[in-house]
């Protein structure tokens, strides 16, 4: 088996620095890389798109950034829709042939990830080429991961079996697995994008101090699904919950009356108002 192109993106490491975004523009703006691509226009192309999401509400929040590129799917809908204008290379990279695809704007809609865009100047649908022209010249990395200072983008040339083992070991996921397109771009810590947290804070009403060491139990339909312990600021945060589900949050500290709160986090996660614990 030959080694193939894969990208692993860690959502816990990306900080939206945009070095990858700039590297993509640097490589493709004004530069034709025949036979894989014609030049990006000076302005407007987003072959690499970083999405931002805030989780929770002031003052307990998180921010997560999700860089997206062409997923270089093994079962690529764009290839099927292209009548031969889009093809998959043996190393896994999906290429839009800029000559064969010329004038076919409908290809833009063939990608369920929105990774294809229309270059009006050149009259051709375009997307990330996986830096195929550089890979073929022996570059060990595409431009985006080479410029990544955080380690959030890691390029992996590996046989499929080797990659499958890594996916299992690191708990990697793909975007929109329900589409069944078998992407070659994997995400680590994907729960930060797809799941939600419930966070909150507790304090002792009698002395006004932060309530450290409280036991927090999150339950759903009467069954506990997660537990946490408040830290020295009285804060807790339980992650990997389902958006739209209804939970009960129980906070308990020795010598104090237990408190329960309902929590129905939306996709934006939920920070509960601070809870005062009364002496038992």
């Amino acid at each position: 088996m030959a080694k193939k192109w894969n990208m692993v993106i860690d959502l816990a490491l990306c900080n939206d620095c945009n070095c990858c975004f700039m590297a993509d523009k640097d490589e493709f703006t004004g530069n034709d890389w025949a036979p894989f691509s014609v030049a990006q226009p000076w302005e407007g192309a987003r072959w690499l798109e970083i999405e931002r999401k805030e989780r929770g509400q002031f003052p307990q929040i998180q921010v997560v950034h999700k860089p997206g590129i062409c997923m270089h799917c093994d079962a690529a809908p764009c290839v099927d829709a292209s009548a031969g204008a889009i093809y998959k290379r043996e190393d896994g990279i999906v290429i839009i042939d800029p000559v064969k695809a010329k004038g076919n704007e409908a290809l833009v809609d063939s990608c369920p990830y929105g990774a294809i865009s229309w270059n009006a100047d050149a009259g051709v649908a375009q997307k990330c080429t996986g830096c195929a022209h550089l890979v073929d010249q022996g570059w060990t990395q595409p431009r985006c991961s080479q410029a990544c200072p955080t380690g959030a983008m890691q390029f992996v040339m590996a046989e499929d079996a080797e990659m499958a083992a890594r996916v299992a070991a690191d708990g990697l996921e793909v975007s929109k697995p329900e589409l069944g397109t078998t992407p070659r771009v994997y995400y680590k810590n994907m729960y930060r994008w797809t799941k939600v947290f419930v966070a909150g804070s507790a304090y002792f009403a009698d002395n006004g101090d932060c309530a450290e060491g409280c036991e927090v139990t999150i339950s759903k339909d009467g069954a506990a699904v997660a537990t946490a312990v408040t830290n020295n600021y009285g804060d807790f945060l339980v992650d990997k919950l389902e958006p739209g589900a209804e939970y009960t949050v129980a906070i308990q500290a020795a010598g104090y009356k237990p408190v329960e709160r309902k929590a129905a986090p939306t996709a934006a996660s939920l920070t509960l108002p601070a809870v005062a614990l009364e002496k038992a």
Partner: protein, 869 residues
């Protein structure tokens, strides 16, 4: 197609490989080491080994630099304002609106030279005022301290001195507590990476966002891995900032959001907790400070009747008393680094009204927890890997080709290496006995409004220097008759922008020349524009991030010392020329060419620089030009680590490689620069100043004290009218105004500017969801932010990252795009400094207070905008 040639260059955000084909830059790639480069250092700590990546972790604007080299906004010919005639009507009231026509270099050079001669003959020396922008193009030959300074020194001009815009309160306040003027009030940070990896349990980031500010300045993301290592070791990370900043977003464990201007109450409440609970290092305080008892009485309220309790601080700052107490207790129980600002100092909290007190507060807290002992220091996680400081290469402040002993750091080492047979000279007029101006008072200079200020600006030579009073015009000198502007726009960065704009149009300076690369914000207001090229179009040489001078050994913000031969990769675009060549053309017409060039072209100066360093001991000129860079090997294993301030904590002679405090500033080579040699809660330098009548009510002798902001939550009448507090931090995706706008790819970064339906990329203001909802504003709307000083049209980002009541917008827009009369109408370029006050942070602290700014915002309705501020 031709063959791709690979060159090297260095930018303000790091070094790159430059691939060139057929005379055009194809790509810029962050520099990556090969196996012939020096091995990297390895730090052993807590059973693990830490070693840095073998590539340069550069800034995003560095990766996107090709788009500003080939920017559509490049100026490609010399230009003259169409209705400007130096021999007839000058029409200066039309600056900014009348447009330009191309002229030849001969015409441009002649015109500038004739004006220089006229002004010198008619008004005497130094009636030409000049100033550079802070940072434009990296390189020791082309930098502002270098060819620009050699030129202005030879011609004789009044230099408009820069305020220490990133330090402010550290110099104006901090220096009175612990000296360190050689770092403008900041602290050395040698070997604190190793110290923290071995010994630190917690880091408190206070007004500090090193992932945004490139480790403090210049250093890209080089220190990001360090913070990840520390996080991986379980070091707890606390963030105190009105904005949930980007470093917090990556590694934060707890976020506290004080309202702007209330950091000092928060700090005093932490001290109050330590004092009442006895959880500070009493022995350290007793032996290494003076005035602590008097300050203790103030904190406990014995002297003024107001105990500075957490409950009191909650009312001021909005931070919950229980959180303050919990933080104070955790801090006291753990070995803690206080990361105040970037580097060991800086920070937005030092750039605000009464901002001399916050640095004093930071020093006070670090002192109470035995600053300088293992694991406990004032260190912003972005300085101090085990580099070899003994390999000589000069920083850009060391004067480059100017050889200026009076107004650069050339006199330390470099001038004697660079000019062994003469050629170094200074301008005596640029001194306390001569004529200078002050950047924050540029409008007054141009308006011919006499003004006074304390301190020359970067007054790092000694503490008392900042008490020296300057005046414009200087005694016996003329007011400004010509303004020679060098470099990028200040409109985005200097306070009260409209005053700067009006000064061009309503002022009394008959000739303004701007030497600029791009047609942007401020350049559009000059009479003659001289088009400079970028450093990709000329030769230069420089070490990444190395300033030296007041930012000593600043390449310590990077993992490796990387010295770069900055190739001329392509020919200058259009008719643009290197700054060196532009100055040479003028110098030739003034009879100064020989003095200016010493017979060298730029490459000759680059070679002379190479020869004056230690590079010839490790490589040849030919090999260096061919390879393009040199990685200085790390400090040899047999040379010991010297952690910053350990010598002070252990009462030894200083053993760190800082150039200051200088011997004449201390006694017996021990102690700090303060009069007592100790950390002074009652400042002797301020006491001495008061004894001579220099009393500053906003900078008391005993401190830190809480002095409410003169534009903040306590100025109730103004707050009622303008209820939001605007902060303007240093930017994330640009270097001040450099690399913003210019139709560059940076415009398309979603968190930098936002494209609206009129085709413009608008600058972003961030507000809390609470404040947005109260005004019917939704994410992505255009808003008008305004106060009595003006108004700016912005794209709003509605976020949970802001404390309610606070707005956030970076200080650094390069565009100025008034919708009507310049200086009097709304700006849709994004110069939020239109809104800030030009008042100094305290009466005698000549700093700017961008972060004390009350505003209101409303949804923007273009149909209602009459073009009036």
């Amino acid at each position: 197609m031709g063959e791709v040639q690979r060159f090297t260059n260095c930018t303000t955000g790091g070094p790159v490989f430059v691939d060139v084909e057929d005379g055009k830059i194809v790509r810029l790639v962050p520099l990556e080491f090969d196996n012939t480069d020096s091995p990297s250092w390895v730090i052993d700590a807590r059973g693990k080994k830490f070693t840095p990546p073998r590539k340069a972790l550069v800034s995003p604007w560095t990766v996107g630099h090709r788009s500003i080299v080939y920017s559509p906004k490049r100026i490609l010919t010399p230009l003259k304002r169409v209705d400007f005639d130096p021999k007839g009507a000058r029409n200066i009231g039309n600056r900014g609106t009348s447009g330009y026509e191309p002229i030849s270099w001969e015409e441009a050079w002649d015109m500038v030279a004739e004006e220089i001669i006229r002004v010198k003959r008619e008004f005497g020396p130094c009636a030409i005022f000049t100033q550079p922008s802070s940072h434009q193009m990296w390189g020791n030959v082309g930098y502002r301290f270098s060819c620009y300074q050699r030129f202005l020194n030879a011609v004789g001009m009044s230099y408009i001195e820069a305020n220490p815009d990133s330090w402010e309160g550290w110099l104006w306040g901090g220096a009175h507590m612990w000296g360190n003027t050689h770092r403008l009030g900041n602290l050395e940070g040698y070997d604190l990476l190793e110290d923290s990896l071995k010994n630190t349990d917690m880091i408190v980031f206070w007004s500090s966002d090193p992932d945004t500010t490139q480790g403090g300045v210049y250093a890209g993301y080089e220190s990001l891995p360090w913070r990840r290592w520390l996080k991986g070791l379980g070091v707890k990370m606390i963030f105190i900032d009105p904005y949930f900043n980007h470093t917090a977003g990556q590694i934060g464990d707890k976020w506290l959001a004080p309202r702007p201007g209330t950091d000092v109450p928060l700090a005093l409440a932490i001290a109050h907790t330590w004092l009442t609970e006895g959880t500070y290092d009493k022995e350290y305080v007793a032996t290494k400070t003076v005035g602590f008892e008097e300050w203790t009485d103030y904190v406990l309220g014995k002297s003024d009747g107001q105990p500075k309790t957490p409950e009191w601080a909650e009312v001021e700052s909005g931070v919950l008393a229980r959180d303050i107490r919990a933080l104070a207790r955790e801090w006291a129980s753990k070995k803690t680094m206080l990361a105040a600002g970037g580097l060991a100092g800086l920070g937005g909290a030092a750039r605000q009204a009464t901002g001399a007190e916050w640095p004093r507060a930071m020093i006070a807290l670090a002192t109470m927890q035995a600053l300088g002992t293992p694991g406990s220091n004032l260190w912003s996680t972005s300085y101090g890997p085990p580099q070899d400081d003994t390999f000589f290469f000069p920083g850009y402040t060391e004067g480059g080709i100017s050889g200026d002993l009076g107004n650069s750091a050339a006199g330390k080492d470099f001038a004697y290496r660079m000019f062994p047979r003469g050629g170094a000279f200074s301008l005596p007029h640029r001194s306390a006995e001569g004529s200078i101006g002050y950047r924050l008072r540029t409008p007054e200079i141009m308006m011919h409004q006499p003004n006074e200020w304390y301190g020359k600006g970067f007054t790092g030579s000694h503490i008392e220097a900042q008490f020296h009073k300057f005046q414009y015009p200087a005694p016996g000198y003329s007011m400004a008759q010509m303004y020679y502007r060098f470099g990028g726009s200040f409109f985005g960065t200097m306070t009260e922008t409209n005053k700067h704009v009006k000064a061009y149009r309503e002022g009394k300076v008959p000739f303004v020349v701007s030497q600029a690369i791009w047609m942007e914000g401020e350049a559009k207001f000059a009479d003659v524009i001289l088009p400079a090229c970028t450093n990709f179009e000329r030769w230069d040489i420089g070490e990444w991030a190395l300033a030296n001078g007041y930012v000593t050994q600043s390449s310590q913000m990077c993992n490796h010392r990387i010295i770069v031969l900055q190739h001329k990769a392509i020919e200058p675009l259009g008719q643009s020329k290197s700054d060196y060549e532009i100055f040479r053309g003028i110098a030739a017409r003034l009879g100064l060419e020989g003095m200016y060039t010493m017979g060298r072209d730029e490459l000759g100066w680059v070679k002379a620089t190479f020869d004056a360093t230690d590079l010839p001991t490790v490589t040849t000129w030919d090999d260096f030009v061919k390879k393009g860079y040199y990685v200085v090997p790390p400090r040899p294993a047999d040379r010991k680590s010297t952690p910053g301030m350990r010598w002070f904590a252990e009462d030894r002679e200083r053993d760190t490689p800082d150039w200051g405090p200088a011997p004449w500033e201390v006694v017996q080579n021990k102690g700090l620069q303060t009069q007592s040699g100790k950390i002074e809660f009652v400042s002797n330098s301020l006491k001495r100043a008061e004894a001579t009548g220099l009393v500053d009510p906003e900078r008391p002798v005993m401190g830190p004290q809480y002095i409410p902001s003169w534009e903040g939550h306590r100025t109730t009448d103004l707050k009622a009218k303008y209820p939001l507090q605007l902060i303007m931090p240093h930017p994330r995706f640009t270097f001040h105004t450099h690399n913003d706008a210019k139709d560059s790819w940076t415009n398309e970064i979603k968190d930098h500017r936002v494209l609206h339906s009129d085709g413009r990329y608008y600058w972003i203001m961030r507000v809390s969801s609470t404040d947005a909802a109260a005004r019917g504003i939704a994410d992505g709307d255009l808003i008008r932010a305004f106060n009595d000083r003006g108004s700016v049209i912005l794209s709003v980002q509605v976020t949970e990252r802001m404390a309610p009541g606070v707005a956030h917008s970076y200080e650094s827009c390069a565009e100025y795009d008034p919708i009507g009369t310049p200086g009097e109408s709304s700006d849709r370029g994004g110069c939020v400094n239109v809104l800030s006050s030009s008042r100094f942070i305290t009466p005698m602290s000549s700093g700017m207070a961008n972060n004390s700014c009350l505003i209101q915002i409303e949804k923007y309705d273009a149909s209602l905008d009459k073009g009036v501020a």
